[in-house]
Every structure is written in C-alpha cells, then in structure tokens.
C-alpha cells in the first residue's frame, strides 16, 4: 500500500542548530507512529514540517504522492484544515466556544453548513463519551475531557493524518492512557494515520511503530 504521507531528506536549521538533519519517513493509512527522543532533538520540528506548518529548508514532504512544498501558505493552510487533524498538548480549544462548536470548527471553516458540522461534531463527542457535555465551555471540562473534545475536533472532518504533539503531557497517567485509547479507536474507525510525539514510554508503547529522533536524525526506527 502506498504511503499517505512521506518525507525524503528533510532538513530544517535554525541558524547554527540543525533541528532536522535529513529525515526520511513513510506513513501509511491507519498507521500509528510515535516519535520519541530527548528534549530538543527535533520532534516538534518534524511534526511541524510534516504537517506543513513549517516549510523545510531541504527535502520534501509528499501527501498522497504530491509534494506539499510547492503549495503556498494558503494552499498549505487549506491542506491542514482538510487533510490533517491536530491535537495539541493542552487542548487549545477556543475558550468562548462550546464543546460541540469547538469540534465542529474545522468543518465550518472548510465550508460545512451549520447543521451538518454540528451534527458530525455531536456524533464524535458521543463516541468519545462526552454526551451531555456538548454545550459546555472548555473551562467547564476536565483536562481529559477537553483533550477528548480536541480529538473530536481533529477527527470530525475525517482527515487523512492526525498530528498530536505531546497530547498527554498535561494529563495524569491514567487519563493519558484513556485519551490514547480514545484517539486510537477513533483513528481506526476513520482509517486515519496518527503521528504522535511523546516523552511517555507507556504512550509510545501503544503505537504500531516508534521512531526515535536524536539531534535531528532518526536514530532508530522500531516497528511493532
């Protein structure tokens, strides 16, 4: 099966610092890839380059075989809201919006109608065990609940790849594991690939593949 997302020889430098120094990676549909490595090794940078938030200084990222480096910011922005989904460390939900509106936001931004988007959002919130909390604000949710809203948001528009940068970083171990379960289940249902950056060994263990980054290079690619 062909890769959904592939990267060849990615290089990203900040002045002297080589945040990425030649990274190759292939991600297939339904893949769950954990990126691990010491602090400052380049994990976040890799995630940003793969998702088109950052432009690589060298190398290329391919989505379904198309190079995304050729796209301008508007094109990459469109890509991010249609083909990709994001789960950030502390949810990063819009504080004023309700849970369902937060989850529906990517679909709305992609031009979805109000009913359709909210309907899909509610469906996902229910699947993630958040029924009854659709009208709550992020401030009225626990950290784990907020993170599940973030998963619903990342999945509601059925993206090809979900990127998660330390999604469990702000959660305790048990809640973190629950969140992982929810994320993996949901991704499986939509056949989305998951790229997850984590420090947590227990979280990384749940991935199908683990990639270890050191000084901007892939030190070891362990397949499970």
């Amino acid at each position: 099966m062909n890769s959904v997302l592939a990267a060849r020889g990615l290089v990203k430098t900040y002045g002297e610092v080589h945040a990425l120094a030649g990274v190759d990676i292939d991600i297939k549909a339904g893949d769950v890839l954990a990126v691990v490595g010491p602090s400052g090794s380049g994990k976040t940078t890799l995630l940003h380059v793969l998702s088109g938030i950052l432009r690589a200084d060298g190398g290329e990222v391919f989505l379904d075989g198309r190079a995304i480096g050729e796209l301008n910011e508007t094109g990459r922005s469109a890509l991010r809201r249609t083909a990709f989904g994001f789960v950030f460390q502390s949810g990063m939900l819009v504080a004023e919006l309700t849970a369902e509106e937060n989850a529906a936001l990517p679909m709305l931004l992609a031009g979805g109608s109000r009913e359709e988007s909210l309907g899909a959002a509610r469906l996902w919130l229910t699947r993630l065990g958040l029924q009854g909390m659709e009208k709550r604000r992020p401030g009225e949710l626990s950290g784990g609940q907020a993170q599940r809203v973030a998963i619903a948001r990342a999945l509601a528009h059925r993206p090809r790849v979900i990127f998660a940068d330390e999604p469990t970083g702000a959660l305790d171990t048990r809640t973190g594991q629950e969140m992982m379960t929810a994320l993996l289940q949901a991704a499986e249902e939509t056949n989305a690939a998951v790229v997850i950056v984590t420090h947590d060994k227990a979280i990384a263990d749940r991935a199908l593949r683990v990639v270890e980054i050191q000084d901007g290079r892939i030190a070891a690619g362990v397949s499970a």
């Binding site: 922005s77 504080a95 004023e96």
Partner: protein, 728 residues
C-alpha cells in the same frame, strides 16, 4: 524590582505596553491640564477687563462712562465714552496710559492700525480727538481686540464710576458659563478615552504578566514582592508619561491660545494652570494608573492557580441608564429652580452619571448582540465573534468605551447646536435692514446733520394713557410718518396726520420717555386711526403733527442708509452722538454668529480629539485582545484556519458592540441634549428644538473609527505564527 527592570529590558511586548501606558498618561495629563486651565484663561481675561465693570458701583463718581458695542467690517468694537466729573487724579487700570481728557483718545493697537488704514469718514471719525496712546495688553481681553476710550467734556448717557479701574474680575456671565460647561463636559469626554487607552495598554502585558506572576508565586515569591514588581513596571510608563504630559502642556497651551473664543484668541499665558494644580495632576495620574494595575493583580496574587473565570454581566446594569437619566433630569429640574454655580455642577454630575451608566451598560448590550448572533450564525466568523461577545462582554466592550462616550457627546452636541442657534440673540426685525437707529439720544443733533448728507429721522418715544396712575398706557413713537416709514418695517403712510395702530388708543395723555426729563401733552380730541400691524417693539406710531408741542424733542435718531454710505452714516452717528446705543443689524448678527462659531469650533475640536483618542484606545485594545489570545489563534492557524476568517471574526467582534452601543449612546445623547436645551431655553427664554438627521452622524463616525481600530488587528494577526500555540 530588579526582575521587573530586566523583563522590561528584554521583552518587546512589555516595552510596547510601557510606551503605550506612557503615551496614554501623557495625553491624559496634558489634556487635563489644558481643560483645568481653561477657567484660568477666562479669569485672566476677566481680570484684564475688570476696569470695564466699574459702572454701577456708586451713584456718584469721579467720571461718567458710557459703554457701547460697535462694529466695523464684521468686527466688534468695544467703545467707552468717558468724561471727568471732578478735578484730581483718576485711577486707571494697568495697560491704560492715562485717563483721556476731553478731546483725547486711547485705542487698542489693532484698532489704531485699522483706523490708520481706513478712510476717516468710515471709521476714524467715530473717535473724535487726538490719539494719545495705545492700550496695553493688560487692559485687553485678547490680542487684536478693538477697544476705544474717548474723552469728552460731558457724556450724555454716562453712568457714574470712580475711575477706569476694577477689582478682580468675575467671568460668570452666560457666555463664559458656556465655556466653563464645555470644558467640564470636555474633561469627561476626553479623559474617558485616555483612561481606555491606558487601561488597554496596561492590559497588553496583563495576561502574560498574570501567567508569569502566577509562576513566580508558585516559585515562592511573596505577594508583596509580586505587587512591587507590577508597580515598578507600570510606574515606569506612568511616571514618564506624566512628566512628558506636564512638559507637553506648555507648547499645548500655546496652540490652545490660538483657538478663538468670544471674538478673539488668547494670550499664551492665559492657559497656564496653577502650579499646585499641575503638581496634583502630575502626581495623581500615575498613582491612579499604578493603583489600577495593582488592583487588577490582586486576583492573581491571592489565587496563584486561578482558573479562567466566566465573567457574567447582569442586566441590572441597563437600569443604571434609566437611573442616570433620572438623576440628570432631576438635576435639570433643580438647576431651573436654583440657577447660579450649583446649576452647572448639578447638570454636570447628571451628565457624568449618564456617561458612566453608558459605560456600565455597554457590556450588557454587547452580550445581547453576541447572543443574537450565536442564535443565528451561518459562518464561523460570526460564530466566533458572537461567542466572544457573549462570553466576555466586559473585555469585548472595554476598548470601545472611548468611542461610545465620544458618540454620546457628539449626538448631544448636534442636538443642542441647532437649538442653541435659534436661541442666540437675533435681529428682531423692528427696523428695516438698511436702517441704523440711535437710541437714548439726548444730544443736540445739529452736528449730526452737519456730518452727513443722509436723511435724518428724529423720533420721540413715549406712552399714551388715560392719565391715571394705574394705567400703564401704550408705547408709542412720535415722528413724521413718511420719515419713520423709511426705518420701521411694515408701516404704510397716507397723507394727513393720524395714529397708526392695530387698535384705537385708550386715553389721550401723551408722556414722553427716554433719558431726558419727561414732558406731557394731550392728543387732539379727534384724529384718524389707521391700520398698522406693529413690529415686536413698536406697536403704535403717532404722527408728529398731532403733538405740535413736542416738536424738536428727540429721543431716537434713525437714518435709512445705502450700502455705500452705511459705514459713513454709522461713523457720523457714533462720532457726533457720543455714548448712544446704536441698533444696527450687522452688530446683532455678528454677536450671535460669534457665539455659534465658538461653540461649533469648540465642539469640533473636542470631538475630533475624542474620536482620535477613542480610535487609538480601541485599536490598542483590539490589538491587545488578539495578543491575549495569541496561543488560541496560533492553534487555529496551525489547524488550518485562514487568517482571513480570523480577521473577519475579529473585525465583527470590534464592530458589532460599537454599533449597538453607539446607537444607544446616540439615543442617550439626543435625550440629554434636549434636556440641556430645555435648561438653556429656561435661561434665555426662547428657542425651538429642531432635530436634524445629522444627530445620527456620530454613529457613522464612531463606526468608521471602530473599523479603523479593528484594522489594527490585521498586522497583529499576521504577526502570529502557527507555532505560537506552544509559546510560553
């Protein structure tokens, strides 16, 4: 303290905020100093012109003075005909070289120049005599004022006075009361946007600071240390701003001195506030700002791990508008009863209450607008804006407070101005427009006949009654009908002696009136009464032939003029009948239009400053609201939200509450304007209340200002990188 300084040195956002705080405080301080100094300016003028208020101090005096207002070429001339009544030195005020004896003339420099460059028969002959000197600035109301003091043997209509010197002047007449009121209203209107600016600037760092301080608290910093740090950070900006403001007030007062009021500009020194006031403002402003910053921090300091709180606004805030309106109108009622100084204070308190209530109620309206859009959004930008407005209405409204106050005042002014216009002195239409009439004439009119070839109409005022003491009688003018008809509007004569009146006269006893001793005569038993509708002042004209014994007696002189000889006739009348009061249409219109021009100019200047300040405040506040939510926006952009959509939402967020609240402010402005107009009408006694569509113009201006402010979000938004979600 050292940490605060270190932060300031490194963090660009703290620097920007500090500069903005300094800017806000600076503008506020110099504006306050300026507005506080305005009464000083009036006092300075009043002190310099105190020598003109000497009349009426005693029944007998060393001199006689007749004061009159005259005009030439659209400029007002203050004219003083004086004569000494006894020998000896006569006290004169500073700026008056010496008391002018008969045949001597003192002119202000500007008038002297004008006389030099104008043909004598048009202007110079109004001041017969030898020019012995020019009046110094100490005796003039403003630079370029036209003043003349003319010495005579005897002043026919003079009032006794001890000399040309007064005590300290008082400026509390109507006209000055107006400026007093304007500056006080201005104080509210201009200081509020300044406060918004300072508050928004302080908030620029607040969100970040709160997080940093919370971290410091967790790290074990004592609340005291935390508070001191904040105080230091804010103090730097506030103190610098205050010092700059005081320094800036100096050149500022010179600019202000160029703004004309009551016919002239000011002397630069007029607008200098008392040192104690300067010191008080300079110290109070930063203290207030720092106190506000510390108060705002108390929340963080007391609860290091405070979660995001939901800010609820309650609808009772709306009631405050009704309450404030009530206070305002009670104030008006009270003011109509009371009069005097307390009148203004009460009205101002009411006005302040209304402005304050608007600011209080603003968030409620904002929340309503938000809820309205949350109910029926179709696009994500409407959803985002609507939720923001209903979610944190206080923050969403804060920035527009200045604009709202400006709109409130603007509609108030636009409601009042046309109404005031109808109240200022106007031509009463008694006399034809081409007529110049001298009232209170006791003089010999022979010199006048010599001085001009124009036809001269002499008239005698008096009343006709039954002769009973209780009978007030009717006011009549005695003169040759054909001549009087040249001056009086609406009088048509036919040959033969008659009385011209709308109804037959009651009684036949004529008694003359005017400045000279009264004489009586009897009307013939039979005479014809011909129709005359009458003007506002003159209802009855009696042909001179009906009262032959009154021949030669004069109390009014009128001259029908042509555009060519008007100035010359005017000059001849003034020059040969010293001390008379002239009724010349030009003069009255001049007076009225000066007042209107002054009001309009003051309003325009004040509102422009308010609009600009409001705009800056709104822009800083809008930019601050974006910076506050930088991480959220960063995450949205990372997840693919087009900046365009965010920009759209932000613009709605700024515009919608401004629109709703300015509409309310406009309504309040109209109501309050009408109230003030009622009060003014009570003072003046006439005037209509015309409302023009223009009163809603401030809403448009407010929206434009808000739009410009909203555009400030653009650059800030573009400055946000998608990776900002992980910042801090």
């Amino acid at each position: 303290m050292r940490i605060a300084l270190a932060v300031l040195r490194r963090d660009r956002r703290s620097q920007v905020a500090t500069v903005l705080v300094a800017l806000g405080v600076m503008i506020a301080v110099s504006l306050v100093l300026w507005l506080v100094a305005a009464p000083n300016g009036l006092q300075a003028r009043a002190d310099r012109t105190a020598w003109r208020d000497v009349v009426g101090q005693s029944d007998k005096g060393a001199i006689s003075v007749a004061m009159n207002r005259d005009s030439y070429d659209g400029k007002l001339i203050e004219r003083f005909d004086v004569a000494r009544n006894e020998q000896g030195g006569i006290k004169v005020a500073a700026g008056i070289t010496k008391f002018p004896e008969a045949g001597e003339v003192l002119l202000s420099p500007a008038l002297a120049d004008l006389v030099r460059t104008t043909p004598a028969e048009k202007l110079g002959n109004r001041f017969p005599g030898r020019l012995i000197g020019e009046l110094g600035p100490e005796a003039l109301k403003f630079p370029g004022e036209l003043v003349a003091i003319i010495g005579h043997d005897k002043v026919e209509n003079g009032f006794p006075a001890p000399g040309l010197e007064g005590g300290s002047g008082s400026y509390r007449d109507d006209y000055h009361g107006m400026l007093y009121l304007l500056t006080r209203v201005g104080l509210v209107v201009l200081v509020v946007p300044c406060l918004v600016l300072v508050a928004s600037a302080a908030r620029l760092t607040a969100a970040k600071r709160e997080r940093r301080l919370a971290a410091l608290r967790l790290a074990g910093a004592s609340p005291r240390q935390v508070v001191i740090m904040t105080a230091v950070e804010t103090a730097i900006g506030a103190v610098a701003g205050s010092v700059l403001g005081v320094v800036l007030a100096q050149p500022f007062s010179h600019i202000t001195a160029k703004v004309p009021w009551e016919g002239g500009t000011w002397y630069p020194g007029d607008f200098v506030p008392a040192p104690a006031v300067v010191a008080a403002v300079a110290v109070l402003a930063p203290v207030l700002v720092i106190t506000a910053a510390i108060m705002g921090l108390r929340r963080v300091v007391n609860r290091p791990l405070s979660a995001e709180e939901k800010r609820k606004v309650r609808s009772w805030r709306l009631l405050t508008i009704a309450g404030a309106m009530g206070v305002f109108f009670l104030g008006i009622l009270y003011a109509q009863e009371a009069g005097g100084d307390s009148q203004f204070t009460v009205v101002l308190l009411g006005l302040g209450a209304v402005a304050f209530a608007l600011v209080l109620a603003g968030p409620v309206l904002t929340a309503w607008v938000g809820r309205f859009f949350v109910g029926r959004w179709r696009t994500p930008s409407t959803l985002l804006a609507g939720r923001r407005l209903s979610g944190d209405p206080v923050a969403a409204f804060r920035g527009s407070a200045g604009v709202v106050i400006a709109v409130f005042t603007g509609s108030m002014a636009l409601t009042m101005l046309p109404g005031l216009e109808s109240q200022v002195p106007y031509r009463d239409g008694t006399w034809n427009e081409n007529a110049i009439v001298a009232e209170q004439v006791t003089h010999d009119v022979t010199p006048l006949r010599l001085a001009t070839s124009a036809p001269i109409v002499t008239m005698l005022e008096g009343k006709v009654s039954t002769g009973d003491k209780s009978d007030d009688g009717s006011y009549v003018i005695v003169g040759r009908c054909a001549d009087v008809a040249e001056l009086l509007t609406g009088l048509t004569c036919r040959p033969g002696p008659a009385v011209y009146a709308s109804a037959p006269l009651q009684g036949d006893v004529f008694e003359s009136m005017g400045p000279h001793d009264s004489v009586t005569a009897k009307l013939p038993a039979q005479y014809e009464t011909r129709p005359f509708e009458g003007t506002s002042r003159v209802q009855v004209v009696v042909d001179a032939d009906l009262l032959p014994t009154m021949a030669g007696k004069v109390s009014m002189v009128g001259v029908p003029t042509t555009p060519e000889n008007r100035d010359a006739v005017h000059t001849a009348l003034i020059g040969t009948l010293p001390g008379v009061r002239l009724v010349d249409g030009e003069l009255r219109e001049l007076w009225g239009s000066t007042l209107m021009d002054d009001l309009q100019r003051a309003t325009v200047i004040g509102l422009s400053i308010a609009a600009v300040l409001g705009g800056i405040g709104a822009a800083v506040s809008a930019a601050g609201s974006v910076i506050d939510r930088r991480r959220t926006f960063g995450a949205l952009i990372a997840a693919g939200t087009p900046i365009r959509v965010l920009g759209h939402a932000l613009r709605r967020e700024v515009m919608l509450p401004v629109f709703a609240v300015t509409l309310a402010a406009c309504g309040a402005g109209i109501v309050v304007g009408l109230g003030l107009l009622t009060l003014a009408r009570g003072l003046v006694g006439h005037g209509e209340m015309p409302i023009t569509p223009w009163v809603v113009a401030p809403v448009g201006v407010g929206l434009v200002v808000a739009l410009v402010a909203a555009l400030a979000c653009g650059p800030v938004l573009r400055g946000i990188s998608p990776r900002d979600y992980a910042a801090e």
